[in-house]
C-alpha cells in the first residue's frame, strides 16, 4: 500500500473546529499526524482594558459545552490577584457546580460524542429485543428499563427513522465498517441509552440553573456566588431548592452507576486491542481542584495536583503554574507571532498576536513542517504533556489515594487487564467513566457538607469587602485554575489601575491538541495517533476513536486558537 494522507476536517462531535491530517505508512499504520485548530476568536485581546469583575462572563463564552469552567478559573484568578478569600459555602457551591458539569459532560461525551465510534447504529436494526433485554439485565441488574418491549419500541423508532431515509444527524457515518465489533444486541442497548442520556442530561444541569440562573453560561461572581442562602426566604436558596438538588444528585447516581458504567465496561470488553493503541505521550499533568475550603490549600484538593513523566507511576512531580520556568508556550508551528523572536513565554508575559501564515483557503493540505494551527504549544518544563481524566486518575492513583485506587482497581479487575492498559485510547475513555463515579460520590459529600454548614448557621456565600475597585491594589497579578472535564485549565491575569492589563488562557485542549514544538515534540493528539492501524483510510473511524477519547474542545482551545463560527446547522422543511 502506498503512502497516503488522510484528512479529517471537520472532526465532528466536538465543540469547535478541528482538522486532523494523518500520514499512513506502507502497512496502513499512521506514521505521522498533525492536528490543527482552525479557528481563532481573540478573547484575550478583547479582555484588555475591561473591568476584571466582568472577565468571567467573557471567558465563559469561550466554549458552549464546558460552559462553567472558564468562568470558575476566571473568578479564581481575579480573586487570587486581589487577595479575596471566598466563604466556605461559596467554595462548596462552586464545587457542586464543577462536579455537576463534569458528570454531565462525561456522560454526554460517552453517549453522544464518542459512542458512535464504537457502536454501529444501523446494525442495531437486526438485534433481537428479548436477547437485548437479557443482555441489559446481565450488565446492569437494577436498571429498570430493560424489558424486551422497551427495546422493541426503540428498535421500531430506529427502523422508521432509517426507512424514511432520514438519518438526520446519523447520515453518512461509517456504518458497517469492519472496525465495529459489538454484537447487534449491544448496539441496540447502546442506542436506547443514547436516548436515555439525552433526556437525562438536561435534568442534571438544573443544578447550575439553581445556583447560576441558567445553563449554558450560569452566573459566577468575583468574591463568591450571587445565589444567597436564606432558609426563611422563598427568594433565595431554601429547602425547596436544596430538595431539588438532592433529588438531581440521586438521579445522576442511578444513571452513572446503573447505565453509564455498565455500558462502558460492556463496550470496552469488546475492544481489548484498543488498550494497546493510542497511548501517546505518556506524560500527564494535573493542576488539581476541588478544595475543601480554600483554593490556596492544595493538600485539601480532592483532585491532587502533579505531573507523571514517561508513564512512571511511582513518582509524582510537583507542578507550579505560576513559576515562569515551568509552563511556557511556543508558537513555532502556530499562526501567531512573538516579539523579538523569543522562543517561548510564560502566560503572565504571554502575547497573542495572530499572524496567519498558512495556506490560503480553500486548501486541501496543511504543511506539517511549517505553521499549521491556531493553537499554541504549551509545554511543562519543556515536556509535552497530556491533561484530562486519564491524567487525573493516574495522578490520584500514583499519589496512593484510596478513593482513586478503589475505582481503578475494580475496573481493571472487571476487564481483567493490567494497569498499563490505562495508557491507551480505551484507558482514556475508561478513566472518564471512573472519574464520573468519583464525581457522583463527591457530589453527595459536598452536598452533605453544605447542609452541615447551614445547620451550623453559616449562610454566607460572598465576600464583598473587596468588591469596590477603590479597595484594590494599583497593580496585581493572579492565577486561577480548575480541572475542566477535558483537563487542566489556567487563567493568568494582570490587573493595573482597576483594569485588565493582560489576560492569558491556556486550556486543556491546547495542551492536548497542540502542534509540534521547536524541538519537534508532538502534541498529545498527534502522538496518540501514531501507530494506529487503519482498516479503511476512506473511512477513518480509528482516527475518530483516538481523537474523541480526548474529548476535544476546540472552541476552548481556539479561544486562543480560534473557533467560533461554531456550527452551521441545516434543517430541512418539508
Amino acid at each position: 500500500m502506498a503512502k497516503q494522507r488522510v484528512v479529517v476536517d471537520p472532526v465532528t462531535r466536538i465543540e469547535g473546529h478541528l482538522r486532523v491530517e494523518a500520514m499512513l505508512n506502507e502497512s496502513g499504520v499512521i506514521g505521522d499526524a498533525i492536528s490543527s485548530g482552525t479557528m481563532w476568536r481573540g478573547i484575550e485581546l478583547i479582555l484588555k482594558g475591561r473591568d476584571p469583575r466582568d472577565a468571567w462572563a467573557f471567558c465563559e463564552r469561550i466554549c458552549g459545552v464546558c460552559t462553567t469552567v472558564h468562568a470558575l478559573a476566571s473568578v479564581r484568578c481575579v480573586e487570587n490577584a486581589l487577595g479575596i478569600r471566598i466563604p466556605e459555602n461559596a467554595n462548596i457551591i462552586r464545587n457542586i457546580m464543577f462536579l455537576t458539569q463534569m458528570v454531565q459532560d462525561h456522560v454526554i461525551h460517552f453517549y453522544h460524542l464518542h459512542a458512535l465510534d464504537w457502536v454501529d447504529l444501523v446494525s442495531a436494526l437486526g438485534a433481537d429485543p428479548s436477547k437485548t433485554a437479557a443482555l441489559a439485565q446481565s450488565v446492569s441488574p437494577s436498571w429498570p428499563k430493560s424489558s424486551p418491549g422497551y427495546f422493541a419500541d426503540i428498535q421500531k423508532t430506529l427502523k422508521k427513522f432509517v426507512e424514511s431515509g432520514q438519518l438526520g444527524l446519523f447520515q453518512n457515518a461509517y456504518w458497517g465498517h469492519p472496525a465495529y465489533k459489538l454484537p447487534a444486541e449491544a448496539n441496540l442497548m447502546a442506542v436506547a441509552h443514547y436516548l436515555e442520556a439525552l433526556n437525562w442530561q438536561k435534568e442534571i444541569i438544573k443544578i447550575h440553573t439553581i445556583f447560576g440562573g441558567k445553563n449554558p453560561h450560569p452566573n459566577y461572581l468575583v468574591g463568591g456566588m450571587a445565589s444567597t442562602i436564606d432558609l426563611q426566604s422563598d427568594n433565595a436558596i431554601n429547602m425547596e431548592r436544596l430538595n431539588m438538588i438532592r433529588d438531581l444528585i440521586k438521579q445522576a447516581a442511578v444513571i452513572v452507576e446503573q447505565m453509564y458504567i455498565p455500558d462502558l465496561l460492556a463496550v470496552a470488553s469488546f475492544y481489548p486491542e484498543w488498550t494497546q493503541i493510542g497511548g501517546g505521550l505518556g506524560n500527564y499533568m494535573v493542576y488539581g481542584d476541588l478544595p475543601a475550603k480554600d483554593i490556596s490549600d492544595a493538600s485539601s484538593f480532592r483532585f491532587p495536583p502533579g505531573v507523571i513523566l514517561n508513564k512512571n507511576l511511582s513518582e509524582v512531580l510537583a507542578v507550579d503554574p505560576t513559576n515562569p520556568e515551568e509552563i511556557r508556550e511556543e508558537v513555532t508551528h502556530s499562526w501567531y507571532e512573538y516579539p523579538d523572536q523569543v522562543a517561548s513565554l510564560h502566560p503572565w508575559d504571554g502575547v497573542t498576536v495572530p499572524k496567519y501564515t498558512g495556506p490560503k483557503p480553500p486548501y486541501s493540505q496543511l504543511d506539517e513542517t511549517g505553521t499549521y494551527s491556531w493553537l499554541k504549544s504549551p509545554r511543562w518544563k519543556g515536556h509535552a504533556v497530556e491533561v484530562g481524566p486519564l491524567a487525573r486518575m493516574l495522578v490520584g492513583y500514583a499519589h496512593g489515594r484510596d478513593d482513586f485506587r478503589e475505582v481503578v482497581n475494580e475496573a481493571l479487575g472487571r476487564l481483567n487487564v493490567p494497569a498499563t492498559a490505562l495508557f491507551s485510547t480505551l484507558g482514556r475513555t475508561a478513566a472518564r467513566g471512573l472519574e464520573t463515579r468519583l464525581g457522583i460520590k463527591w457530589l453527595q459529600d459536598e452536598f452533605d457538607h453544605l447542609i452541615g454548614n447551614l445547620k451550623g448557621g453559616d449562610t454566607l456565600v460572598a465576600d464583598t469587602s473587596r468588591w469596590e475597585p477603590s479597595t484594590w491594589p494599583g497593580e496585581a497579578r493572579g492565577f486561577g485554575f480548575t480541572e475542566a472535564p477535558r483537563g487542566s485549565l489556567g487563567h493568568w491575569i494582570h490587573i493595573k489601575n482597576e483594569k485588565i492589563e493582560s489576560y492569558q488562557i491556556v486550556v486543556p485542549s491546547t495542551w492536548n491538541a497542540s502542534p509540534k514544538d521547536a524541538r519537534g515534540q508532538k502534541g498529545a493528539y498527534e502522538a496518540a495517533l501514531v501507530g494506529t492501524p487503519m482498516a479503511d483510510p476512506e473511512r477513518p473511524v480509528e482516527i475518530l476513536r483516538t481523537i474523541h477519547s480526548f474529548d476535544p474542545c476546540l472552541a476552548c482551545a481556539s479561544h486562543v486558537l480560534g473557533p467560533d463560527g461554531r456550527k452551521l446547522a441545516e434543517v430541512i422543511v418539508r
Binding site: 482538522r19 467573557f58 463564552r61 453518512n172
Partner: protein, 288 residues
Amino acid sequence: MISLDYDETLQAAAGHQAEEIRERIMREHPGEYVLAVEGNAPTGDGGVYCTVAGRTFLDILKESAEGAKAIIAWGSCASDGCVQAASPNPTGAKPVHEIIHSHPIINVPGCPPIAEVMTGVLTYILTFDKLPELDRFGRPKMFYGQRIHDKCYRRSYFDAGQFVETWEDDGARKGWCLYKMGCRGPMTYNSCSTFKWNNGVSFPIGSGHGCIGCSENKFWDNGPFYTRLTNVPLPGVESTPDKIGKYAAVAAGVGVAAHAASYAANQGIKKAKKNRQTKKLLESDKEE
C-alpha cells in the same frame, strides 16, 4: 417534520462525508430548507480565523444561504456578533445580517437563547408556514416583545425602591431588586422572566445575579456589568456620565465665582475712584 441533518457538534458523520450532507441538502431542496446559523463569520483577513474543511466559514455561509427559504440567526453570535465581535473585534466577526442581504433573517439572540424560544421559532415557521413578526432588531415579537424588567417578579421591589446594595445584604436574601447591582433587565427584551430557564427552574435574576442583557445588541461593550450606566465613549478617558457632569458643573461654578470676584473687586476700585472724584469735586466746589 424537522430533520436536523448537519450539525458539527452532534452529527455522527465526519470529514468529507459530513460536508457531503450539506451539499446534498442544498442540491435537493433549493428554496425549501431553513438555514439556521450558529456562530458567526470572522471576516478579517479573508476569513482565515475560522475554516471548515479547508474553506472559510464565510464562504460556506454564503453558499448555504443561497438556496435557503429563510435564515435563522441562532444566538447572539449569529445575530449580533456576540463576544468575538466585542471591541476591538480582533477577527472582524460579523453577524449574519451584515453578510447576507438577500434573504429574510430572523434574529434569535441570547447567549445562549432560551431553548424553548429556539424551538418555538422553528416550529412556528413549520406549523403556520410563515415567518414570525419581527421587531426593530429583527427579533420575533412573540418572544422578544417585552422587557425582562416589565415582567420581572422582583418588580414590586423596584417600584417600592427596595434595592440590593451588596451581594450579601438583607435585601439580597429577601430577593430585592438588583437594579443597583447593574441589572440589565430594564434594557433587555427576552422571555427569561416568564419562561425561565431549563424547564422553568430559575433565571439569572431568580438566582440572585443581575441580568447581563445577553439578547441586546453589543451588550459586551455596554459594561461594566455591575454598574447601571455604561461609560461615556470618550477616546482615551473612561468616565461615567455623572463624573463628567459633576466636573462640568464645578467648572461652571468656579468660572462664575471667579467672574463675580473680579466684578466685586472692580466695583470696589470704581467706588473708591468715584469717592475720590466726588471728594475732589466737593473740595473744588469749596474752593470756588
